[in-house]
């Protein structure tokens, strides 16, 4: 009972602190502190509730237990990371986005193909592509190749749609100007239309980071070698070793954020001229 009271007091205290901080004038410090305190509050309340209510670890392990399990199984987590993220997700991401990029440029020359592919691409981008996982596992085996294939299928259409739209983004006036310079197709493409397409390309690339991880992890639920994040999650859930599952989820979350962050960082460098990126 006392434990529960402490948890509630901690929560109210943190909430009060946060609302005081938020009412201060906005600065870099408060912008960083408020979400951090919120995150710490969640973890603290979680830890406190699990301890004071004696929640069994097969239902919800406490954050400290997860952190302990994480530190104890770094080698397993690293192997899973290599298998799922580097071999599965990353290779699929590069192939999928790369081919979508190339095909967008190819079909860009044909108005007809564009008109036909764009609605279909939009349609496919909304479909539950993860469902193709069992098919690809059957075709390419249990190894990382099938995971990469699922990732390719998942990222291809969002990337294609964004890229096609991006390539049509340059204005008529700008294209006319390129013509007056006597620029040929490739020069126009390289100097005007590709740079103009970059905000859209990066939008596609950013959406694809999450999709790639989801595809690689879920595809492992359908069959995998005895290594990989999806494999680990599904088998450890079966063993009710939830602390290990949470450790994998931490890895997935951090990977997802870092992957996205890196793409966003490159984007800032490439599309520095875009109004949304100017300060």
């Amino acid at each position: 009972m006392i434990g529960l009271a402490i948890v509630i007091a901690f929560w109210i205290g943190a909430w009060y602190l946060n609302s005081r901080l938020a009412s201060l004038p906005k600065s870099t410090a408060t912008k960083f502190a408020v979400p951090s305190i919120f995150g710490i509050t969640i973890l603290g309340v979680w830890e406190g509730l699990v301890r004071s209510l004696d929640v069994p670890p097969v239902i919800l392990p406490s954050p400290t237990l997860i952190a302990y399990r994480f530190s104890q199984s770094l080698d397993i987590l690293w192997m899973d990371f290599l298998q799922t993220v580097v071999k599965g997700a990353l290779s699929g991401y590069l192939i999928g986005c790369g081919s979508a990029f190339a095909i967008a440029i190819l079909i860009d020359r044909s108005q007809f193909l564009q008109k036909g592919l764009l609605p279909i691409g939009n349609f496919v981008a909304a479909l539950p592509i993860v469902g193709t996982a069992p098919i690809f596992v059957m075709w390419f085996g249990f190894g990382w190749q099938s995971k990469a294939a699922v990732v390719v299928a998942m990222v291809f259409f969002p990337m294609l749609v964004n890229m096609v739209q991006g390539l049509s983004e340059s204005e008529r006036m700008q294209r006319d100007l390129m013509k007056t310079y006597g620029a040929n197709y490739w020069q126009t493409l390289m100097k005007l239309r590709l740079p103009a397409a970059m905000p859209f390309a990066f939008n596609g690339l950013k959406i694809s980071t999450t999709l790639a991880l989801i595809g690689a992890i879920v595809a492992e639920f359908f069959g995998s070698p005895i290594v990989g994040m999806g494999f680990r999650i599904s088998t450890e859930v079966g063993k009710m070793a939830l602390d290990m599952v949470w450790a994998e989820i931490v890895v997935a979350a951090v990977t997802g954020s870092l992957f996205y962050g890196m793409v966003a960082y490159v984007e800032r460098g490439v599309t520095f001229w875009h109004p949304s990126k100017r300060n």
Partner: protein, 287 residues
């Protein structure tokens, strides 16, 4: 409508590529069978056989079509072999989860817009959560809820809700904030209360954002429900059909479940698009 012909052509190209791939991918099996039986087969026989295998590596479109027809129209809806039955199981979890996720999402967006501490504390996490492969926790939610005695529709709905929640939060925060300062000032000159501003200005202004995030949310919900059906050992639902199909090598069953899921997703998104158009037209916001 001008894009109808290009779309039809591209669809035709896809279908013919599918048929060609059917021949290529299933040819090995046909040749093996023929070699085992000790008969020579010609090209036309080879092609005919690749289209008509029981467990092809890639079923031909008409095989999938026939399977869908058999399992929807010709089976009773209550039968466990009916795709309508499985689709309904998935759909009900999707819709329940979507309703929960959207409701909570709008509620949180309301809180974020009206409370500075929540805005600064929660919003970065809501945005960051979109970069996290949330789907990975689906098996755990299912198993944990099962171990405390909750099974059936609700666990899947929770995953669906979770997946549709964050897009709705982010979209609706943007929506509630979309009225420009001029409009907000005007409301102030009318001496409007916060509630008035919310109901008469912020809510109507957020409608385009609402529908955009609903479309993302419903697609995510469906994926969540399907993936949520995988780890239960699976009793019913489209995800079950996928898993069972992959266990027993029933490729035709996988493809028909997949196409049904695709049709379901398209129908749901299309339905929201329809509501969007009529609503926005009646509100005078649609061009």
């Amino acid at each position: 409508m001008r894009s109808l012909i290009p779309v039809a052509v591209v669809v035709a190209i896809i279908v013919s590529a599918w048929y060609a791939a059917t021949v290529v991918m299933n040819a090995q099996w046909t040749r093996d069978q023929a070699a085992r039986a000790g008969v020579e087969i010609g090209f036309s026989e080879l092609v005919a056989d690749t289209m008509d295998q029981k467990r092809p590596r890639l079923p031909a479109p008409h095989q999938v079509g026939a399977e869908i027809w058999n399992t929807t129209v010709e089976k009773k809806v209550t039968s466990k072999r009916s795709l309508v039955f499985h689709a309904w199981v998935t759909l009900s979890a999707t819709l329940l989860g979507f309703a929960i996720g959207t409701g909570l999402g709008i509620l949180l967006a309301f809180g974020i817009v009206h409370d500075r501490a929540m805005d600064m504390g929660v919003m970065p996490w809501a945005i960051a959560s979109q970069t996290v492969p949330i789907l990975a926790i689906a098996p755990m939610i299912i198993v944990v809820l099962f171990s405390i005695g909750i099974s059936g529709l609700l666990p899947k709905a929770i995953i669906s809700a979770y997946l549709s929640f964050f897009p709705v939060v982010v979209g609706m925060v943007a929506g509630f904030r979309s009225p420009d300062p001029l409009q907000l000032d005007l409301m102030k000159t009318y001496n409007a209360s916060k509630a008035h501003i919310f109901w008469k200005l912020r809510v109507p202004a957020s409608m385009p954002f609402l529908f955009a995030s609903l479309k993302i949310g419903i697609a995510a919900s469906l994926v969540g429900a399907i993936v949520g059906e995988l780890p239960t050992g699976a009793v019913a639902g489209l995800g079950t059909r996928l898993l069972a199909g992959s266990y027993y090598g029933q490729t035709i069953q996988i493809w028909s479940a997949l196409l049904t899921a695709a049709a379901l997703a398209a129908a749901l998104v299309g339905l929201i698009g329809l509501v969007q158009r009529t609503t926005l037209v009646r509100m005078g916001m649609h061009r």
